[in-house]
């Protein structure tokens, strides 16, 4: 256990040091959220609060506060979807992947651990976005139940990681052009409720939204952070996310093992 935690820390430290060695990019990425928050703030000024109020009554909030959570979570969830594959491809193209695989580390960790810094950084970015939203643009998060929000976030990470690991497995074999990532990124942005409530969608699309875990992630985060809902009130979201994790994660890990084994059989582990 201790050596595993050492390894977790080693990956986070490595990626933190690499990220901060690009100082301008690091600062820009961290603060660029300001422009997105400002963009949605001004959009929200165009939206009639009476009309949007009905749609957003579930969250007892205005459009700006609603979309702020969506914006903060979207980048974070994007890392869950594409971070594993991105890190894998970086390892392939930079040439460090084979050396990491030659170390006595379980292959699945070589796939998963490089993404930890991505999650931490996205969480930091999400936090900064919320800070901008609350302290500069006046979003209302006064009722937030942070503990419940954190639990929802944890299960969001694990359920999104299912797609992330599957996506990385595809990249491991076909090297480029992962369709899974494309589909779920689009779905996450468009129909899961990142920028508008799913009630606005046509019935058939709203039905599609209901089978996506992202929908429950956005809903759970908004309920806990905007209305102060506790765990019991978001239990439905939590059950879906945890159920998805329990079923999907072992499957994703099995697929990843198979993809690594295939890549080794093909002799294409470091090929990109």
């Amino acid at each position: 256990m201790n050596s595993f935690l050492n390894m977790v820390w080693a990956f986070i430290r490595r990626d933190f040091l690499i990220a901060t060695s690009y100082k301008f990019q690091f600062i820009f990425q961290l603060t660029a959220g300001f422009f997105i928050v400002a963009f949605f703030y001004f959009i929200s000024q165009l939206i009639d609060s009476g009309a949007s109020g009905k749609m957003l009554s579930r969250y007892q909030t205005d459009y700006f506060s609603f979309v702020l959570i969506g914006v903060a979570a979207a980048g974070f969830l994007q890392t869950g979807l594409s971070g594993f594959a991105d890190r894998l491809r970086t390892g392939m193209t930079e040439g460090s992947l084979e050396m990491t695989f030659s170390c006595p580390v379980k292959p699945i960790w070589v796939l998963v651990l490089p993404c930890l810094w991505g999650f931490l950084f996205e969480a930091l970015k999400a936090f900064v976005i919320v800070l901008f939203g609350v302290f500069i643009f006046g979003a209302s998060l006064g009722k937030a139940d942070l503990l419940s929000g954190a639990i929802i976030l944890l299960f969001t990470i694990t359920s999104y990681s299912v797609f992330g690991i599957l996506s990385a497995s595809i990249i491991m074999v076909i090297k480029r052009g992962d369709p899974l990532n494309l589909v779920f990124t689009a779905a996450s942005s468009l129909i899961a409720g990142a920028y508008f409530p799913t009630d606005l969608l046509p019935a058939w699309l709203a039905w599609v939204a209901k089978i996506l875990p992202m929908t429950y992630a956005y809903d759970g985060l908004r309920m806990t952070l905007l209305t102060g809902a506790g765990i019991s009130e978001v239990s439905h979201d939590l059950v879906v996310l945890s159920g998805f994790t329990l079923i999907g994660l072992p499957l994703a890990i099995w697929v990843a093992h198979s993809a690594i084994a295939k890549s080794k059989r093909d002799g294409s582990l470091g090929v990109f």
Binding site: N2, S3, N6, M7, W9, A10, R13, R14, L17, I18, S21, Y22, E94, G95, S96, E98, M99, T100, F101, S102, C103, P104, V105, K106, A261, K264, R265, D266, G267, L269, G270
Partner: protein, 339 residues
């Protein structure tokens, strides 16, 4: 060389890569296979430094990748330090220090020290132990002064030294070194070979040194395995390899032909496979042939006996690939020893 005492045991390992273009996939044509390794058998004894010598494309990197479990063999068995691959890959990988020819295996934005510390933790060390071990190796490989500089500022020689230091991190029983001097100039190569030789001698590690350079083999290795086109053509002690190399030398004889060359001279030149360069009418020609010292002296005696004046003789080793070809043609049955 018995397999019972060997530290690294490769038995009838074969590997072929599938080559299939998009057109072939669409037309549902059966895939083509390129043989990278064909029934390779070898056993490395503890403390032995073995060269894996072969031209580019011989299969050296494929074999090393199989030993590191980066590539899976199609058939045969591999046991490293008593652990079968792939069943006990992680245990086997703990026994291996791997030096790759690829400098990109490091993280270029990190310092040399941080790179080593990262890989030390992947070898199962605690953060503190990783720090101590890294420091010790930076001293041993003369990199302490540059330890806190980003890797991308290192010279080619420093990068190679750090690569070898990384292979020593967990003090492995076996070192697999894939062309570690690749891309170095003569001076840096010389320095690196000196350093490696010292480290190997002191640590008594079992080493597989993949290279296409015979001079490296001469300097470092006890045993030579020649790999060409995925097959072993030679596996014997370094002295036996030297003997084979000696037998395959190119000689150039600058000579002046007699005013009226006899038919028997033409016949002699033809029988001894000498190649003539220059104009026979001017009588000054170069004769080029191959063979060992004895063969050369027989030729010289024959030429002098037929009235040829010898002005100069040059001897040089035949290019390695030609030696390999000779081995392929003439020595394979005799020289391949199953370990």
């Amino acid at each position: 060389m018995t397999e019972h005492t060997s530290l690294l045991h490769v038995d009838r390992v074969s590997k072929a890569y599938v080559v299939r273009s998009m057109k072939e996939v669409l037309l549902r044509r059966p895939p083509r296979y390129v043989n990278a390794l064909e029934s390779i058998t070898m056993h490395l004894q503890p403390g032995q430094v073995t060269a894996l010598l072969g031209p580019n494309g011989a299969g050296k990197t494929t074999l090393i990748n199989i030993l590191c479990d980066l590539t899976r063999a199609d058939s045969g068995s591999v046991v490293v330090g008593g652990y079968p691959i792939p069943e006990k890959s992680l245990d086997a990988q703990s026994e291996i220090g791997y030096v790759t020819t690829n400098d990109r295996s490091f993280f270029w934005r990190l310092t040399g020290r941080k790179n080593l510390e990262f890989f030390a933790v992947l070898q199962g060390m605690s953060q503190q132990l990783a720090g101590n071990r890294t420091h010790e190796l930076l001293v041993r490989f003369n990199l302490l002064e540059q330890a806190d500089r980003p890797f991308n500022t290192y010279s080619a020689g420093m990068k190679k030294r750090l690569g070898i230091a990384r292979a020593f991190l967990q003090d492995p029983a076996i070192l697999l070194m894939d062309e570690p001097t690749n891309g170095l100039d003569a001076r840096s190569t010389e320095d690196l070979l000196g350093l490696v030789k010292k480290e190997i001698m002191e640590s008594q590690k079992t080493v597989l040194w993949a290279t296409h350079r015979a001079d490296e083999v001469e300097r470092l290795c006890d045993r030579v395995i020649v790999l060409i086109g995925g097959r072993i053509y030679f596996d014997d002690a370094i002295d036996a390899f030297r003997e084979v190399s000696r037998r395959h030398q190119v000689f150039t004889i600058e000579s002046r032909l007699p005013e009226t060359p006899s038919e028997s001279l033409d016949q002699f030149i033809s029988e001894t496979d000498l190649t003539l360069q220059g104009d026979k009418t001017s009588r000054t020609v170069k004769m080029i042939g191959t063979g060992d010292k004895q063969h050369l002296s027989d030729i010289l005696a024959g030429l002098i006996g037929k009235g040829v004046l010898i002005s100069q003789i040059e001897r040089q080793s035949e290019p390695l690939h030609k030696v390999f070809m000779h081995l392929e043609n003439s020595v394979s049955d005799k020289a391949v020893h199953s370990a």
